[in-house]
Symmetry: C2
Subunit: 320 residues, 2 copies
């Protein structure tokens, strides 16, 4: 009988600081864009009774690697009323030679949040103009916080602006960051964030565009991480049409989900104008080439990120 | 922090005898064919290096139910050389209202084998002619054994014939059943099985048809459980064209996988000639209506079966 290890969130959090998240994401995206990964389309369950919920199944492997991953991540917004996390799920690692279950990371959605933020920070650093004095955050949820934390660290920038639909949430956001040494100012609207920051990260579950093209100044980079389904949308399609560089984590997914899917459908963007992050990481000339360019990174989240973070955590836990 | 229970195979085996498997499958198939289920297409990973392997992800829920299931089942044929099971995997139950992980059934593929055999026995009983004196089994693996065990019990029939590609495996099969009160005779070829039995269950991973239409006598029922992918095939397409009734567990899956997919593609069968098992279970006039008819049940395995068996086991384990 095979043995599988069930790892709790507490155990994961204990080793996670030892993981070089941006480096792991970088290796994963390069392998992905090199065609070394097998990653089928995202599986999806949509629930609506007794409460709305959304479940994503992402899975795949790197050819020649040791393990394949199957990652389940859910969002049930009404959980807030029950006093429990809206995110949940787990990552499971299997032996690539035998199919045996090796490690069950019951991360309750946490590793997904962390790897999403790491990918956002990586994309933002990779595409940012040469000088960033202030980071803009649209949204005030868990992902907005993690994006700011990781991006501020990666860019060595301690000034930020935030806008959220709910002003109480925005106040809490600012207070919570005060102790971390990151000084966050509130903005009354999305436009204010765009006007005060060189890089902006959008982290909402909006179904309507929040960022209008005319508010975006030359030189701005925007990383959009909120939209990971065909319906969610944070950016005006005109902005993608106008941008000098549009990058995605996965072109296969970008055709179907996120900002790029909307812009392709609207006919303002051609697939040939979209570049994968893994290619830019390998060859920086495919990314930003001047400080005047407007650049967009649209991330929908790829299974290779789940594989990289799950394997990193599992390797560290194997010592114990 | 949410708690998830990791259940071992031993714990599952201890409660499984208390589950009325055929009744659970029946309820599941009826719910499925009534349109009460949400079951997305099967997810699939195909591995080939360092060893060939196949992973299926089946998932879904019954509307208004308590849980959704995500089931992972793998087959790695080369495991035999390593002395480990070729099947592996797990079933995971999640709360339908919150997405919380509730029960992790690390069944190593066992529950999938059991529910597949139960569905086969149910389909065979439902479609069999009025008198069955001998059950035919094509194949000698784990699924062939389980099908015979469950079908013999359900039909109250203790005579069987078996054919397998490997005569040593067929001999072991016969010996192993001797103690169980089921008398199994070997047949030198597939034709011999068809000529001696009223019902025949095919349980191989063949890529070429094994059963030819001209060997099938009027009144025969065949349940084909081996083919669950677009490429595997056990029955000559002419047999599906000729059959008086062709039933499937899922028409959505039958379009893409299994015997029906081959026959539809060959143009010898129309989709309108194919009926779902759940509809026959609800209204027997949609099944066999005379003892002279040739009937076929083609089963590719549906997530509702996984949900039914996983929930049954979890409910029994909740007592402890």
């Amino acid at each position: 009988m095979s043995t599988a290890r069930l790892v709790t969130l507490g155990e994961m959090k204990a080793v996670l600081p030892e993981v070089d998240l941006l480096e792991e994401m970088k290796r994963g995206f390069i392998a992905y864009s090199n065609g070394q990964c097998v990653i089928p389309p995202v599986g999806e369950l949509i629930l609506d009774d007794p409460a709305p919920g959304e479940v994503h199944i992402k899975y795949g492997f790197i050819r020649g690697g040791d393990r394949y991953v199957i990652k389940i991540a859910s969002g049930f917004p009404m959980n807030r009323e029950l006093g429990i996390h809206t995110s949940n799920g787990m990552m499971i690692l299997f032996n690539q030679r035998t199919g045996e279950v090796e490690t069950l990371l019951h991360d309750e959605g946490y590793l997904t949040d962390v790897r999403t933020a790491a990918a956002g920070a990586l994309a933002t650093c990779t595409m940012a103009p040469s000088s960033v004095t202030r980071i803009g955050i649209i949204g005030t949820g868990v992902q907005a916080r993690m994006q700011l934390q990781q991006t501020a660290g990666a860019l060595d920038c301690t000034q930020a602006s935030v806008w959220g639909r709910d002003t109480d949430h925005a106040s809490n956001f600012i207070t919570d960051f005060a102790e971390s040494g990151i000084e966050v100012s509130p903005e009354p609207d999305v436009r204010g964030v765009l006007e005060s920051c060189e890089v902006v990260i959008t982290c909402t579950s909006s179904l309507e565009p929040l960022v209008r093209s005319e508010w975006v100044r030359p030189g701005t980079h925007i990383t959009a991480v909120g939209s990971d389904t065909p319906d969610k949308q944070e950016l005006d399609v005109a902005l993608l049409g106008r941008a000098d560089r549009v990058i995605v984590d996965s072109l296969d997914q970008g055709r179907l989900r996120g900002e790029v899917a909307h812009a392709l459908k609207a006919g303002v963007l051609e697939e040939t104008e979209v570049t994968e992050l893994g290619l830019v990481l390998r060859d920086s000339s495919m990314g930003r080439v001047s400080d005047d360019q407007v650049t967009i990174a649209d991330l929908t989240g790829v299974a290779v990120q789940d594989l990289m973070i799950a394997e990193s955590v599992a390797r560290l836990l194997e010592r114990t």
